[in-house]
Symmetry: C2
Subunit: 148 residues, 2 copies
Amino acid sequence: MAKMKKKESQWETATNERLAEAGFRRGGARAAVVALLDEQSCALSAYEIEELLAARERAVGRASIYRILEQLDELGVVSKVELGQAQARYEPIRPDHHHHHLVCDKCGAVIAFDDAPLERAVDSISKRVDFAVEGHEIVLHGLCADCR
Amino acid sequence: MAKMKKKESQWETATNERLAEAGFRRGGARAAVVALLDEQSCALSAYEIEELLAARERAVGRASIYRILEQLDELGVVSKVELGQAQARYEPIRPDHHHHHLVCDKCGAVIAFDDAPLERAVDSISKRVDFAVEGHEIVLHGLCADCR
DNA sequence: ATTGTTGCAAAGTGTTTGCACAAAC
DNA sequence: GTTTGTGCAAACACTTTGCAACAAT
């Protein structure tokens, strides 16, 4: 049975291009992390990434995961989000899919949402502060539908 | 020279009342932490609290600081904010002074700001999600005036 | 006397670093 | 062959926990 080659999304392609442009060599561990991130709709923690990669038989060392995530964050293709759970999460930055997060205080579930008016309000205040705003993060916390 | 007794603000008074109501005994370490927090206009990390208390000759053990902050957070009088620097910060919740934070990615400076339209946008979306929203946190990051 | 509070040291957790080896160029 | 990428283990920083001593009631 022939193995299907999965379709690369624009993000994965663009990320690999950015990496090449920036002078990075092609490394298997990094490619695996990029491919995994590309499949996600929401943010993953380093630990989750480690587990998921191990589960698909492409284990990547923890240190490599952190190093790779840091590179991707610096390249501006991944966003490191701190949702207040004493651990960072990482997600691909897709120009057309900017979103924020709801975090359940009870079970830790993370749910994405987006809202244009909220975005506009942030952009507006960003321009009025004496600060070169480069990004923002909005976290709503409370109880998810299941825990409520 | 007579030692002035500093004026207790409403927050410190209300917090001490809440603690009493909740059945807590009066402890020196906790009183010192509450008094210190009351003087702050913005969020402090546990480490900063430890340093500031030591500097004023009322050193409090690190474990006690964390325990006290957790109690105050649970009582709802202190807000634990995670600004993405791998450490939590804590600030008094003053009903009339809700605010958010600008974090400098270079020097780590934390600056408070508030904005009514932003607040309204958050309240609006909070009502429309399938989630019992209990609070929110907004962090703008970039470069502060000095680092820019 | 009882029970909450505190400090110390040890343990935990998430993340980073040092270093040797493998892989890419 | 040179330089970058990777994995392992050790080191780190922040936070929490166990426990004995102490203080408030």
